[in-house]
């Protein structure tokens, strides 16, 4: 079986203005949403209490909310999830220690029904949340910096580097935008997924660039846009194949992995789609608009550097 029975020849470079516009639009929407609506940060980052409790009978969320307010908790969020017996509670951070909060929460819930069971309870101090925000931001910075360095080392011309970097930044922005627009809970696992996305997204771009270099080597006289189109077309079935397969497992995680992995797998899925798109339509196009020619890739006499097989 093959997606394309013979070599495709789509004119990606000729239509690049359309794709630029589309990407710009998505980025603007993402950024506007990010700066106006923000992210629905999980308690990993905000600090506070998140609990899942299970009552023996169906219990009204308002009763639970009332009991929490009576116990002195400020604006508790109380929701059903799964069934009418299972309730999720979220409380804002306070100055109390984790153990004090836990004790008060236990007491308040026992008043509603002594047989209540706390299935899961997370109490995160405000300082821990703040630190995580900082370290998550650092993680993004370090990953991007590491990849910048790698690209600079791998592609000797800034034209390719710039294309790769813009494509790499494009994808996490769209993922953040998605989480901001949908207000899905943004937790630590999502940050891990975004870092993984940065890695994967570049991976496609690198494979295309690898091919561009190879094509330039054989056809130094061909016009750059033709070479770029050929390179993308030749790697197209690989790009799609790999992403389809990765998507199969990510979709399995999304629907079967349970609520803990929901945000993680959603971020990966969006990131993989964005990454595939950007490596096909964006990265090479930017390099072309920066005036990429064979001369930039092979400045002097061409040298065939054959890799050794392991």
């Amino acid at each position: 079986m093959e997606f394309f029975s013979h070599q495709t020849n789509y004119p990606f470079m000729a239509t690049r203005k359309v794709w630029y516009t589309l990407s710009a639009l998505l980025i603007v929407v993402s950024l506007v949403s990010f700066f106006t609506r923000g992210l629905n940060l999980a308690i990993d980052f905000t600090g506070g209490v998140s609990a899942e409790v299970s009552f023996p009978q169906a219990t009204d969320v308002d009763t639970v909310r009332g009991a929490l307010v009576a116990a002195g908790f400020r604006d508790p969020q109380v929701q059903n999830f799964g069934s009418s017996r299972d309730i999720a509670i979220r409380l804002p951070p306070s100055n109390q220690t984790a153990s004090e909060v836990r004790q008060r929460l236990d007491d308040a819930l026992k008043k509603v029904n002594p047989a209540v069971q706390v299935v899961q309870l997370d109490v995160v101090g405000p300082q821990v949340g703040n630190e995580l925000k900082v370290s998550a931001a650092w993680a993004l910075v370090f990953t991007l910096a590491g990849i910048f360095l790698y690209i600079a080392f791998r592609f000797h011309t800034w034209r390719l580097s710039l294309g790769a970097i813009l494509a790499v930044m494009h994808d996490p922005i769209l993922v953040l935008g998605f989480f901001s627009v949908t207000q899905m809970s943004f937790d630590l696992a999502v940050v891990a997924a975004i870092l993984a996305v940065i890695g994967y997204s570049l991976n496609d771009t690198v494979v295309v660039f690898d091919r561009i270099r190879e094509r330039f080597e054989g056809n130094r006289r061909s016009p750059p846009d033709v070479v770029l189109d050929q390179s993308i077309n030749q790697t197209l079935s690989r790009t799609i194949m790999t992403k389809v397969v990765t998507s199969i497992v990510v979709v399995a995680l999304l629907f079967l992995g349970g609520p803990v992995l929901k945000g993680f797998s959603a971020a990966l899925l969006i990131g993989i789609i964005a990454g595939t798109y950007s490596s096909i339509y964006i990265s090479s196009a930017i390099a072309l608009d920066c005036g990429l020619t064979a001369e930039h890739v092979f400045p002097s006499v061409k040298k065939a550097a054959l890799d050794h097989l392991p």
Binding site: V128, A139, R238, M241, V249, L261, P310
Partner: protein, 619 residues
Amino acid sequence: MLEYARWKYLLVAAVLLLALLFALPNFFGEDPALQVARKDKTSMSSSAAHEIEDFLRQRNIHFARSYTDAGRLMVRFGNVADQLAARDAVNDKYQTTYITALSFAPRTPELLRVLGMRPMPLGLDLRGGLYLLYQVDVNSAVAQALEGYAQDARRALATANITPKDVTPLGAESAVRVVLPAGTDVTAARAALNQPFQGLAISSQAGPAGTVITGTMTPAQVRERQDYAIQQNITTLRNRVNELGVSEPIVQRQGVDRINVQLPGVQNSAEVKDILGRVATLEFRLEDMQNNAMEAAALGRAPLGSKLYTHTRFGRPVLLKREVIATGDQLTNATTGQSQEGPAVNIRLDARAGENMLKTTRQNLNKRMAVVLIEKRRETSEVNGRKVSRDVTDETVINDATIRGVFSNQFEITGLGAGEARDLALLLRSGSLATVIYPIEERAVGPSLGRENIQKGVTALIVGMTGVFLFMAIYYKIFGLVADAVLLANVILLTALLSMMRASLSLPGIAGIILTVGMAVDANVLIYERIREELRKGVSPQAAIRAGFEKALSAITDSNITTLIAGVVLWVLGTGPIKGFAVVLILGIATSMFTALMGSRAVLTLMYGGRRKIARLSI
């Protein structure tokens, strides 16, 4: 023509065989088990183990198997009911000698277990339990050290007949400042301060109001002091966690000033935190030799000037004088060592306590001295249906011994067993625990949620992998099947590596494994697409395979390095489950490179190698 070196075949085969062996324990599953350990932390003898086995048989409690592991007895049961019955029975009968803990034991066959092969331990999110993150107040540890320097400085100056205007510890600068009035002999003062300020960076500054001498702790000293405080707290927490009877607890340092505690299977967090959060101090006191402790205990009150205590180890009453010779915050170190009379605990006190000790021992030779451990804890009880909590202070004598000589700030306690000496040093250190710790993060996962998480993870893994396998087989036919075999080998290899490293598996870790399957496909796809391209060019099948591997190599390396960068950053900056995910990601890159490049090359060369003529490839 397609060839592959023989040693490479052998390497692939050997690695896969080893991987299979190490991954094997993960497929047997777990049984409920009871872990029985001796309270005094010595190893369980085989006769004691037999005694417990016989006792269980006698009580008609069925167990599948029992063995001693790391000095503890593990008894495996067929079901939870038996496990609970056994725990209650053992607790009833052997309350004073053993601590029991409910746990799970792998059904790994004896042979594999003896060889040290174990399944991956499960993270708290998969087995249920309590996670606590404690903050250690390291600054107060430094402040204490500075206070000690300041005291020593005052004393040294007094001895040298110099009256300072002011001696103050400066917490923010980690320094001690000595202000001398104008007209003081600065050289003499500096000479006097040499000893107490030993190791500090000393500077002096003359001003109109007098001279200021500052002793500053170097950054290395500050760090050492902070590390000491954290290490001390970790030791104390470990000790207390063991008291809880939790199987496979984890107590480890996290970052600069944090300690994380993971207690699998624990649900009642209030009780646990009471025990872990206890504050302990020490007191050294003389024994009251004039009065009879037994009589006092019988009367229930102590004679004037004395106080009645109980010895923790022997349970006998001890009468101690009210005067305190030294307290826990004056204890600078307690370590185990060897003396002529066997194991000993070496104790170091600070200068002030040392002086006091010198005076006391000189006057009380051959009398007895005792060490009292004072623990404060919060006790919650129900009074008329309402929960009332109050602070309780437990004071017990942990050691008493005869004063055999005159000593000051360094001495040893002898006449102890090896285990006893270690415990006493530990208790002394925990009693000198003056740095405060408080919980800043707490996560509890119920056991049912843990089981649910595992189930979901495994289902996602099976469905995801089946999907990928089918897709590859349809898309690449025979070559797809080869890729499937290679993918399977990859998962086995990854499982083996994780089991060997004893890295605990959490839900994000399972997600990492699933993701690795997706990623590992990439390398195969790159190779196969290349082979197809070569075939389209009209190259012979064998040459196409060869060219496919050769030309795909740089792309495979590149694409893996980019993911590796993200993985390494996550590993460095992440904690807990995120670090687990990163470990899986990094190892997955390594295993998928190996299996795709070497494994599938070996299989394909076996299938299509040699000089045979092959008309077409099923790709």
